[in-house]
């Protein structure tokens, strides 16, 4: 009766980042381990059971409406980061600049992971993917600060490589080097959308 299917490969946690203070800016600092509660990463400014809606959901809600927080954890892939850097002709792109919380290694096309995919970490802690993230101008501004003249290239270069946002299904710790097991829902294209 389970609906989810376990994938035949696993990923690895390449990096973890957190930032307790959103007012200090978008950038986060590396850490070796984070603790997930049902509200997100303990002590991170993205955490919270709910959050105010913003421009990302402007077709649904006016700004500032209290909605469930499905963006508790922002996830990037090392491979997609490298691809964006190559496209932009940059030596590197650091996950700190993206405000990301977690960087994966070994998950192909992370940004295309199906919504509702479960990411299970070594401790049993589990995240639910809400959906693909969108490249935004705030990251472009940070890149511009670190690599002057390059910020304007970011949004186009990062299309479909900006990772996914997720929220906590099961609390627990995540550590750098953890294995990531993936369970995905049935895949099909909904005909009613066309």
């Amino acid at each position: 009766m389970p609906i989810l299917t376990k994938l035949g490969f696993t990923g690895t946690v390449a990096a973890l980042l957190a930032n307790p203070d959103r007012a200090s800016g978008l950038e986060k600092a590396r850490c070796d381990r984070v603790t997930l509660t049902f509200d997100g990463i303990e002590g991170d400014c993205h955490s919270g059971r709910t959050h105010p809606s913003d421009v990302r959901t402007i077709t649904q809600y006016q700004r500032g409406i209290e909605v469930a927080n499905t963006r508790q954890v922002s996830i990037l892939s090392e491979e997609e980061l490298a691809e964006i850097a190559t496209t932009m002709d940059l030596d590197e792109l650091l996950p700190e600049w993206f405000g990301a919380n977690l960087v994966t290694r070994g998950i192909p096309q992370l940004s295309f992971l199906p919504p509702s995919t479960r990411l299970m970490f070594s401790s049993g802690a589990t995240l639910i993917v809400d959906m693909e993230n969108a490249p935004c101008r705030f990251v472009a501004e940070v890149i511009e600060k670190h690599r002057p003249g390059k910020g304007a290239e970011f949004v186009a270069a990062a299309q479909h490589k900006r990772g996914v946002v997720a929220w906590v299904e099961k609390p627990g710790d995540i550590a750098t080097g953890d294995e990531i097991v993936l369970h995905v829902p049935p895949q099909r294209i909904y005909a009613g959308a066309s």
Copy 2:
């Protein structure tokens, strides 16, 4: 920057059901209006911020582990119910027998709605689809009680017509007759799953 796309059609709330007492059995009673909090339908036994994992997620968790409740609201479509009834050669199949909370009209192939689809109701209350529901033997037992000799046909007849489960993104009321606006995430098949 929004990632979700509003669909070109809307559905309607055909029926609402709730049951405060799971111990009284799977069946629920009709009501004209329900109130959603962030925990689900107020006063319904499916509601809760978390719930114990069960056989549906046995490939991920042992039974009884506390996980986020993505099954707060169980949704069926009137059209898929009629198709199951036809396949089983039954005069009717009542949503009460399924333990459903909400019956839609006018959403084609409801059970195939993409995970992370947002269902917005007239009041602004919004549900997030977690995924397709699976036909289970508990419903088969209820059908057997009401239509003796027919229970055993249910699981096969209801494949991919058992609706979806969802949870609350934005609280508010839902009333019978409400319009349902749908916003879906980008659709694609994840190549990494094959």
